[in-house]
Amino acid sequence: MNIVNFTPITAFTGGLIIGLAVILFFVFNGRLIGISGIASNFLTSKNNRMDNFLFLIGLIIGPIVYKFITQKEINISISNSLLLLAIAGLLVGAGTRISGGCTSGHGISGIGRFSLRSIVATVTFMIVGILTVLIKNII
């Protein structure tokens, strides 16, 4: 194990800001933020459709606001294998709906409420994620 590119301060700051969004949505709208739930309900359910839509639009505006305020470029690096992306998307979409949550819904909103179900889900997807990267690196 080698520790590289460690940026705990920006990660922690980003986490606090994400936590703030979770509180706002909870205290004002009475709902928990889980992006997979919000996105799939936007697709399949008429309940709160406008709220879900606006949340998702906000999510896309977020990086633009960041760029505007900090005047910094946002660098991301992402696979360009279309097949890999397509398979990953399918797994993430189906998996999060079967288990009822993703990194935000289980990992933050669920664990924040000390839900055992969410703790089990988070530990599971972390372990499988780590194993997947390990296997990918070996192949």
């Binding site: 009475g30 933020i33 992006i35 999510l59 696979s79 797994l91 009822g100 499988v128």
Partner: protein
């Protein structure tokens, strides 16, 4: 009013994903690469988000009404079952393959990235398929 809160929560969440670099799949993949060149930063996103949100979940636990809605609405599912493990495992595999989960994938649309578009399309197909499956099973 709830709609304005939805939009603002989405924006704040998107800013948090950007500052923490959770939006960068390469960062996510090196977070999961604990047996190689490991970048543990993103653990601090979760710590930050939980430190700020869990006290509020606790404070509002008992029947107080949210500000702009009639009641708190979220799942109180406590079941630890096969579906939870299978779903989380599928999600973990997809997450480890591409380094994308639903929130960062949608936020990265702001960067006009074709790779995230492919991922999002198949993610929505995944939502849709598991929804059909659920509806069939329940009918």
């Amino acid at each position: 009013m709830s709609r304005i809160v939805s939009l603002i929560s989405g924006i704040i969440f998107g800013v948090g994903l950007t500052i923490s670099q959770m939006i960068n799949p390469a960062k996510v993949l090196s977070f999961l690469n604990i047996f190689g060149n490991w970048d543990p930063s993103l653990a601090f996103v979760m710590i930050g988000a939980l430190i700020i949100s869990s006290p509020f979940f606790y404070l509002f636990k008992n029947n107080k009404k949210p500000v702009f809605a009639d009641n708190f609405s979220y799942s109180n599912n406590k079941k630890l079952n096969k579906k939870l493990i299978i779903g989380s495992s599928l999600f973990g595999a997809g997450w480890g393959l591409a380094g994308l989960c639903p929130g960062p994938a949608i936020a990265s649309l702001a960067l006009l990235n074709t790779s995230s578009v492919i991922f999002i399309i198949t993610m929505f197909v995944g939502f849709y398929l598991s929804n059909i499956y659920k509806t069939k099973k329940n009918s």
